[in-house]
């Protein structure tokens, strides 16, 4: 079996190594440093990962083994990374689906491994990174029954008329009863004599049926608790379905790959069958970034797995090593905090982000903004654009930023593919006004920053809430 680690173009481990070792000029705050010089300061091992495996008691134990030897569709590592912020090492718990194992479905064992790994992150207050590629809760088949069952048709020549019952023969019944695979009652069959009509399929194996949903419920609860106790982040690297999508959302901070990584409750084929015609042509239409980045579920989008892992590392650089630990302060001596804020808005139509990022003026001079040069990272950029949310550094200290969009923005409400008479609605939104979506975005961001223990900067410049009928109706 090819493991999840090998199934990705490059494994998360090597992604992290690349991102750490290969310089991060594209992602910002070390942009001014000379990478070749920086490299000589690197510790010998920047990334150490120990796999975690369930033992017979259902507890996790550390194991050193080759990739791909995992016994179920979930893998977890305890990782120590030597990052610029924490050269002595920062701990994280890394959890991933193995999509090559039963389609990456969540069964009883997978759920338990996820639960135990998340518990470690929660108890130690260290970041929990979840790489989501899965197919939702497992719906198993009792293969031993599948091989033996027979059908008593209403009319054998016309199967579409349906069947009277499913049955097994006396001999097969005895065999299946050894594993208690079915519940059946004897009936008289016109040809075969006494046969056993199947009333319930239990299955010999554990983890075929609703027991998987119990596990799903448990890890959903675990993830909600983890969000409140530590830094949770999910990289949606491939399709994430049902419980996989819930886990992603409940962990709140989501990085989504821009293609083939939809967040779904139901696949598009199932929806088409339900609606009765071919409304959707791909899962990306339902749960891709055009939906999930525009409704604020995905905070960030990336184009591939490498970029996704880089984005996680970059995000971590704004977060303490553990809950209630000191903030990672990264002072850049070339950009001292005593600098003046040189940027002044020239026109009302200028991007308010320039106020804190700074910019280069027409003469080519750098005009510094409120925050450290190159430190600003926007989140939830495509959702509720009348408020601006991001993380930045001031004097090297990571902070959360809430700012007001002063310009008019447009919000698109897409047509509903399932309702042919609907059309896309383009809403024009005044600047400096809180609409229901931007108010919710503000609340969500403050909540996230609070969990990350970041100081909060609000550049308050609001005229108030939009309290018209439609806004009130939609809350």
């Amino acid at each position: 079996m090819v493991s999840f680690l090998l199934s990705l173009p490059r494994s998360p481990v090597s992604c992290f190594q690349t991102a750490l070792g290969g310089g991060r000029s594209s992602s910002g705050h070390s942009a001014n440093a000379d990478n070749s010089t920086a490299k000589s300061f690197l510790p010998e091992r920047v990334f150490e990962a120990t796999e975690l495996r369930l033992n017979r008691k259902g507890e996790l134990e550390e194991v050193q083994r080759e990739k791909g030897l995992n016994e179920c569709g979930m893998v977890a590592w305890r990782v120590t990374m030597h990052t610029p912020e924490f050269p002595k090492g920062r701990r994280v718990i890394l959890i991933g689906n193995d999509v090559t194992f039963q389609m990456g479905t969540f069964g009883v064992t997978e759920d338990l491994l996820f639960q135990r790994a998340s518990e470690i992150a929660r108890k130690e207050g260290i970041p929990r990174i979840y790489i989501a590629v899965n197919s939702g809760a497992r719906m198993g088949l009792a293969n031993e029954v599948l091989k033996l069952f027979q059908v008593e048709w209403i009319d054998e020549t016309q199967p579409h008329r349906g069947f009277k019952y499913l049955y097994v023969t006396e001999k097969d019944y005895q065999q299946l009863m050894q594993t208690d695979s079915i519940v059946a009652e004897p009936v008289q069959h016109p040809v075969e004599g006494t046969v056993y009509k199947i009333t319930t399929i239990v299955g010999a194996q554990i983890g075929l049926g609703v027991e998987n949903l119990c596990g799903s419920g448990a890890i959903a609860g675990e993830t909600a608790r983890a969000y409140k106790s530590t830094f949770t982040i999910t990289f949606c690297s491939g399709r994430s379905v049902g419980i996989g999508a819930y886990l992603t959302r409940l962990g709140q901070r989501v990085i989504q790959k821009s293609v083939n990584a939809p967040l779904l409750l139901t696949g598009y084929q199932a929806l088409n069958r339900l609606i009765g015609r071919d409304v959707y042509s791909s899962n990306d239409e339902i749960g891709g970034i055009d939906v999930m980045h525009k409704n604020g579920i995905s905070h960030l989008t990336v184009k591939d797995d490498i970029e996704g892992c880089e984005a996680i590392l970059d995000w971590l650089s704004y977060v303490p090593e553990h809950r209630e630990g000191p903030l990672p302060i990264m002072v850049d001596p070339t950009d001292p905090v005593s600098r003046p804020v040189a940027y002044k808005p020239a026109r009302a139509t200028e991007d308010p982000r320039l106020m804190f990022t700074g910019c280069i003026d027409p003469q080519g001079n750098w005009l510094g903004g409120v925050f450290d040069r190159g430190s600003y990272r926007e989140a939830m950029a495509d959702w509720a654009r009348s408020v601006i949310i991001g993380r930045a550094r001031l004097g090297g200290i990571p902070v959360g930023v809430v700012a007001v969009e002063t310009r008019v923005t447009e919000a698109k409400q897409p047509a509903d593919p399932a309702m042919p008479h609907t059309s896309e609605i383009l809403l024009t939104r005044a600047g400096q006004v809180w609409f229901p979506d931007s108010a919710y975005k503000t609340a969500q961001a403050i909540w996230d920053f609070n969990q990350e223990e970041l100081p909060l900067f609000i550049f308050a410049n609001w005229r108030g809430f939009s309290g018209g009928q439609r806004d009130m109706f939609n809350e």
Copy 2:
């Protein structure tokens, strides 16, 4: 000054007395009891209220005085009610705006009184009842400045061209400086000589400006905490604006009067001025029950104040006397819990509520449902009708109920009056499906029941979430 207590057609106190003393046949579970017999068991005093007043230290003290002697626009009572569930008395804290005092605005004193009264409810874990009739945060006037200031017009004959500055004369300046009412700088006036140009108005009195907003913030936070610590309920008996609307929403359980009791962030005139034409003709269009009951903010609507107070009392009968206290069990010997559930759905199109309320069959026989006869109360009935939320009793024990609407429902999205080209959209919603609104309603109800410490009955019969593009886009 006519007090809030007198300004209502009948005061909350007398409403409660009416509701308690006058029988509650319309509201349910004592319907089978003979009221005249029941009356003889009534305690002599069913309702005792002691007013709470702020002392000089900013703490509450009990005071016995006539109604209407309150010193600010907020009134609070510590109430003991002898109800059928708690004949020995149940405690509540009753808080109300006095709309006759400065339009019922929230100033510093009002906020402090609200805060202290809410703190009592929270600390003792007893219900906090808030009667909302107000005009939002106070924006005061410095009357001493109002009388004295003068205007230096650009052109005295054409005031619409604007003014250069506001000023006071030397003599008036000296007078105002005794109370530090303004900040001003001397300028030369062509006629009056040296005058003082006003740059800032401070005001002699405390509670004129932004300090009121600090108080608003404090009581909003207090109310969010109170919701988590005790039973909060708000009866929106008249207009409730700004912070008044926030308090109402943050307390979650809302009973709204059906006319002239809108929940508003901004009044309709202000919105019309902003939009530039007469879009709205009343506040009810923005925050009346057609908006607020249909979006789930108002859990219940009533036609007048008496009905509102009755509804509060009825709701309280499902709630423990104090947080973590025993549930109020009301056994009706004529409807024993050992009864069979006689009702069976005849058709798929029958109202699923009949399953737990029971009904009378065509022959006139009573077919009992799951819960005690007459004990079911629906909440948030007009919102997200694909899920059914209510409270009921089983064997006299109050419980929370979540059930699935099995029939097709319709959801109306009203046209936006501010956008002439929009039209009302009628959405048809399949039965047994969770849509974004009904999923949120389910979550909200479970959260409320949990705060009320009610056992929860879920009649689970869902086919799943509606996960199409529009649903996902709207989260």
